[in-house]
């Protein structure tokens, strides 16, 4: 067997990228790949829950639902029917930073996908009705019940955000929003929301797969060219923070959970910075895989944590220092104090104990596979290019991420650990089994 060494990659994006911009400001990105007879159409709108004012939490996401309910020339229920009825897969997601919409189609239906996206970018408002809003509000409330309220530990993310980010910060509230705000959502607010943010100059259209750039550019002009620019789109509140928090915060939740669990979290650096690249490698060394420090020391070594529920990961947010989340669940008979002391010790080890060559190579090898898995579909590539165009102004910079991860040194990881993992900047969220008070 060959001895594994640090993988080498000079680019993380070995496919062509071509770009243009329409007169109305829409940026168009195309990456041709004829491997499979499929094409992905992806729209990133630079609007997310960070744009929501107080009293309107959850609106960006509820709005995303309304985008599937018909537009000027697309009848209610027709959008889904036309995509699936022509063989495609589709979805959309909203997070604090942005909202994305995407469909992968057999490539002969590229033009259909572009027409559908243009119609809901330029013609949603005339089709918006109170009935649609009322129905999708109930769907979203059921989404909230299903994903956050009805599952043990399901509200951890909702609880972590306000502990990590101060009142008024754009990441302070969760994307799903509060039931109270959702109940108060008025139709006019959504009409205004669309007119404000769903503008060609606030979006990136990315097409990846079985299509040529020249063809896509012409079709983009044909379908999106008529949509008017919206001047002076207001920016989200500034997310700049001076650095990691200066005071530790702790919340303990008594709930119907099957075992004690701890989440430790720290604000780190914004996604896309050298600091966050180091945090990405750090999280992998710390908590990704059976060879990680957390697994080796707490699940396999001290055997105080359940092996299936231990890990660490960063949440890739770009507009403020992004969170690193570290979690472990106690094995039967292990108390929370023991688990928390064990976790704290392993986290501290990243500061006190240099990362070894083997650990670093392991982390980079896992990140390499994970990167290539992410770009193995036309959807994965389109979303990646949409992200880098929206957040960093240039899709070609997507190619740099993997080489930058691979260039992270043991010293970089230690330095990042020293900066972000100090106990005095830590958020500790603990779940204790019991009847909720």
């Amino acid at each position: 067997m060959t001895s594994p060494s640090a993988p080498v990659a000079t680019t993380g994006y070995p496919w062509p990228i071509e770009t243009t911009q329409l007169a109305n400001g829409l940026r168009v990105v195309v990456s041709e790949d004829r491997t499979a007879p499929v094409v992905c159409v992806n729209l990133w709108y630079d609007v997310g829950s960070r744009h929501e004012p107080p009293g309107q939490t959850g609106f960006a996401h509820l709005f995303e639902h309304l985008m599937f309910e018909g537009s000027q020339h697309v009848k209610k229920t027709e959008h889904m029917k036309l995509v699936q009825g022509n063989g495609g897969s589709l979805n959309a997601t909203t997070n604090p930073d942005r909202t994305n919409y995407f469909e992968t189609m057999p490539s002969e239906h590229l033009e259909l996908a572009l027409w559908l996206e243009a119609d809901r970018m330029g013609g949603l408002v005339p089709a918006l009705t109170q009935e649609t809003l009322d129905n999708q509000r109930e769907v979203v409330k059921n989404e909230r019940r299903q994903r956050y309220e009805n599952v043990p530990y399901g509200d951890a993310w909702l609880r972590l955000l306000p502990l990590l980010y101060p009142e008024g910060h754009p990441y302070h509230h969760s994307t799903i929003g509060s039931m109270e705000d959702l109940n108060g959502a008025a139709l006019d607010t959504f009409k205004a929301f669309h007119q404000q943010y769903y503008a060609p100059n606030n979006a990136v259209l990315t097409v990846v797969g079985d299509a040529a750039a020249a063809e896509v550019f012409a079709l983009a002009e044909k379908y999106f060219g008529a949509i008017a620019t919206v001047p002076d789109i207001p920016a989200a509140p500034d997310g700049t923070l001076p650095g990691p928090a200066e005071q530790a915060v702790r919340e303990t939740v008594t709930a119907k959970v099957p075992a004690p669990r701890i989440y430790l979290s720290h604000r780190t650096y914004p996604f896309g910075t050298a600091g966050y690249d180091a945090v990405t490698v750090l999280a992998t060394v710390l908590g990704n895989g059976r060879g990680s420090r957390l697994y080796q020391r707490l699940a396999d070594g001290a055997r105080i944590a359940q092996p299936d529920y231990i890990g660490a990961y960063g949440v890739d947010l770009a507009h403020a220092p992004a969170p690193l989340i570290i979690t472990a669940t106690a094995k039967d008979g292990v108390d929370l104090e023991t688990l928390e002391a064990g976790l704290a010790e392993v986290v501290q080890s990243l500061i006190d104990e240099p990362v070894g060559e083997d650990e670093l190579n392991r982390a980079k090898a896992l990140l390499t596979t994970s990167w290539w898995r992410g770009v193995s579909t036309v959807y994965g590539r389109a979303d990646l290019l949409g992200r880098y165009t929206t957040q960093f102004g240039d899709p070609a910079t997507a190619a740099d991420r993997l080489p930058k991860w691979l260039a992270v040194t043991a010293e970089d990881v230690t330095e990042a650990a020293r900066h972000v993992l100090r106990p005095e900047s830590r958020v500790t969220l603990t779940y204790v089994p019991g009847e909720p008070s």
Partner: protein, 446 residues
């Protein structure tokens, strides 16, 4: 200028092609490989005829405990060294169990795949299985199952399975066992399962850029030192339907949603009706615009999503509708769901609906099969069900050629609204009384 008002038509379609398949037989086993030029990652899946159905009564979960024990060290290295060796290739082992097979999968950049398969085979064929480690993994698995069963769903699934297949031994218990059966698994059970089933050659499925892969070397890595002939297959269980509908309540106090699992038995995967049944289920509850999702989500707003489908293995099949609905509308949601199942069974489907279903299922064969992992999974379907290499092209054609009459006939024959078992996992105090509308309510013992 304004938006384009008319919907564009389709361009010309490229012909459908599944990746070319190559075979290498060596050391008693067969490598079946799909060529995907230009792919950076490659996937391999060792497929063994050692599914959950081979477990002993009362020890359900044995194969799962074995799967989780494989990485606790091998005869050559301890667990820490094993994790480091494998993960330094960028690979992680995914051992798993289903009703028909035991699978050990790995993915890695192409040039590293052979080393990853060597390590996967080392764990599958020659695990250390130290008794203390196996006992600990077993205990951890009991805890993990308790964690899982605290979520809505697994208890309802178990209640439905017990009701549909209770008379068929292993098939009446959950795929991975339950906390009680796993707690009863002994170290000897695990060692015996490994000895009996995991030392046979099986099949290695490979998907990736074959120009950069040495299939003979992969065969040697996967099969060297193995022995045993292919096992004989047993026949299907048959479709047994109860005389009348049953309602089972799984109590989950204070639950804000009711988890619905409505189901009955159906034919096994080899049924000649596979295509029309799949299309009927797509119209009823598979596509976003399906009858169920349209009514229960888009019109009524009772749920975030509802799905109806057939699941099929070598020996059995079952029809199921699954959803989480707001507690306050539990009975109306069930009533409307039964109405749509009854309508589909009695009246069949329309050409307009079928057009969506057939195009979607056919298109998904391209759209959802882009990656080596997806293609390796598709190969496993061919092997498990004895299907020919050109199966996906045939399947695609059959989807596109299916008629309203064929699909309506399948709906009439393979849906049975009066034979459904209705499992409802929710807040018993809030919903018990209204469930009486559907007949006598039995409390689940799960």
């Amino acid at each position: 200028m304004s938006l384009v008002t008319t919907r564009p038509g389709a361009g010309s379609a490229r012909p459908y092609a599944f990746p070319a398949i190559r075979r290498v037989t060596a050391h008693g086993g067969t490598v079946i490989a799909a060529h995907m030029p230009g792919q950076i990652l490659a996937s391999a899946l060792l497929l063994l005829d050692a599914g959950a159905a081979r477990e002993t009564d009362g020890r359900e979960g044995t194969a799962t405990v074995l799967a989780k024990s494989l990485e606790e060290g091998t005869r050559r290295r301890d667990s820490a060294a094993y994790a480091l060796a494998l993960e330094s290739l960028g690979a992680e082992l995914s051992p798993g169990v289903d009703w028909d097979t035991f699978r050990v999968g790995v993915s890695a950049p192409g040039p590293l795949l052979a080393d990853a398969v060597r390590l996967a085979a080392e764990a599958a064929r020659t695990p250390k299985l130290d008794p203390e480690d196996v006992a600990r993994v077993r205990d951890d698995e009991v805890t993990a199952l308790r964690m899982d069963w605290a979520q809505p769903g697994p208890r309802a699934d178990a209640a439905l399975r017990a009701d549909l297949f209770g008379a068929d031994g292993r098939y009446g218990r959950p795929l991975h066992g339950d906390p009680t059966s796993v707690a009863a698994v002994t170290v000897d059970d695990v060692l015996a399962f490994h000895e009996a089933w995991l030392r046979r050659p099986g099949v290695l499925l490979v998907a990736g850029d074959l120009d950069a892969l040495d299939l003979a070397a992969l065969a040697e890595a996967a099969f060297e030192g193995t022995s045993g002939d292919p096992l004989e297959q047993t026949g299907p269980l048959g479709v047994v339907l109860p005389a009348r509908r049953r309602t089972i309540l799984v109590d989950r106090p204070d639950s804000v949603q009711s988890t619905l699992r409505l189901g009955h038995r159906a034919p096994e995967r080899a049924t000649p009706d596979y295509v029309p049944m799949t299309l009927a289920a797509t119209v009823l509850g598979g596509a976003f615009t399906s009858r169920l999702n349209h009514l229960i989500r888009e019109v009524k707003g009772y749920t975030y999503g509802i799905r109806g489908s057939y699941a099929m293995t070598r020996r059995w099949g079952r029809f199921e509708v699954a959803a989480g609905v707001q507690t306050a509308v539990t009975a109306p949601a069930i009533r409307d769901t039964l109405g749509e199942i009854a309508r589909t069974q009695a009246e069949g489907i329309t050409e307009d609906e079928l057009e969506v279903a057939r195009s979607w299922r056919a298109g998904q064969l391209s759209v959802e099969m882009q990656t080596p992992g997806a293609i390796a999974g598709a190969l496993s379907t061919l092997v498990v069900h004895g299907l020919p290499d050109d199966y996906y092209a045939t399947l695609r054609r059959e989807y596109l050629e299916a008629t309203v009459e064929q699909v309506s006939k399948a709906a009439a024959e393979h849906l049975s609204v009066d034979a459904l078992t209705l499992v409802v996992e929710g807040d018993g105090a809030a919903i018990r009384a209204e469930l009486a509308e559907f007949g006598e309510v039995v409390d689940s013992t799960i």
